[in-house]
Symmetry: C2
Amino acid sequence: MTNRHFTFIGGDTGPWRVREIRSIIGPSIAPVSRLEIRNENVSVLPTNARWSFRGVTSNQRYTQRSELNSLLAIQPTLGRQEATCAAFIPLTKTANWWELTQEERRDIFEARSSHIATGLRYLPAIARRLHHCRDLGEPFDFLTWFEFAPSDSAAFDDLLDKLRGTEEWDYVDRELEIRLTRDD
Amino acid sequence: MTNRHFTFIGGDTGPWRVREIRSIIGPSIAPVSRLEIRNENVSVLPTNARWSFRGVTSNQRYTQRSELNSLLAIQPTLGRQEATCAAFIPLTKTANWWELTQEERRDIFEARSSHIATGLRYLPAIARRLHHCRDLGEPFDFLTWFEFAPSDSAAFDDLLDKLRGTEEWDYVDRELEIRLTRDD
């Protein structure tokens, strides 16, 4: 059985060099020089870790079959050699969001904010893995990890701008943006 | 902020006397005489605990607004004085279920299995709390806790029979039924 648990560890170890930590909404976190990602629920952290966040990949929440088929046809895998840039985006949604029912959330997420349709337009440039953590008792609801080539950095910025301008983002009450590069 | 985490502990302590543990699908668990439910993620168990399961109450997954309003209008609370009978039902769904998209699961769950509509017909007799645990790395995907008066036991049996006969249950690959009574 695949282990769906991941731990993101900020400190001074790991292959990803932290270039910038920005708070988009809400408080920031301690500065670190490196990020390590482990495919497990880590309980004992490296000595110099300043923070860690845990999340789990899970079943589809909003993506419908036709959308999923479109995504699966063109989405790239993580770990491409040319994808030396990354972004790590921890994000929390408001209590109001979570009190909505599924079809109310889907309506905001896609019918009114085109989250999936917008994301599709940036494929296959940007690889992505979504981790859920709201039910794990973590400080964030979602951790999203993105990888792309340096030449696609401007496209990634554009994707973030588009998403942050949607109605869905009215329901975001904390968001960090951590930009990284991988040592070659 | 409400603590949404619960731990169900089987052993020889707690207000609920275990009357029967039945395996409906898959392996059973160790017999115990008592069940204790704590509203926290318990890490140190009582000395004589034989097993424990953790779950978290969460946002609505399938229930739509009109259905939720119908439920909220008549569903009873847990802890009613007359509700001295309980059932604890840990359940896991198949990998096939979790690979379906949301609208495919909703279609099976309600359009073809009438899970919500059937449940509504047994209100306000039966109180219920659903705990999610698939993403917690637990052995079960769901833990459901039911409370009802002794005079509603036959109705509860009938509800279980109806649900187990639906297409949704084709996707259940492990289910336990633990019946309990509360000391007065």
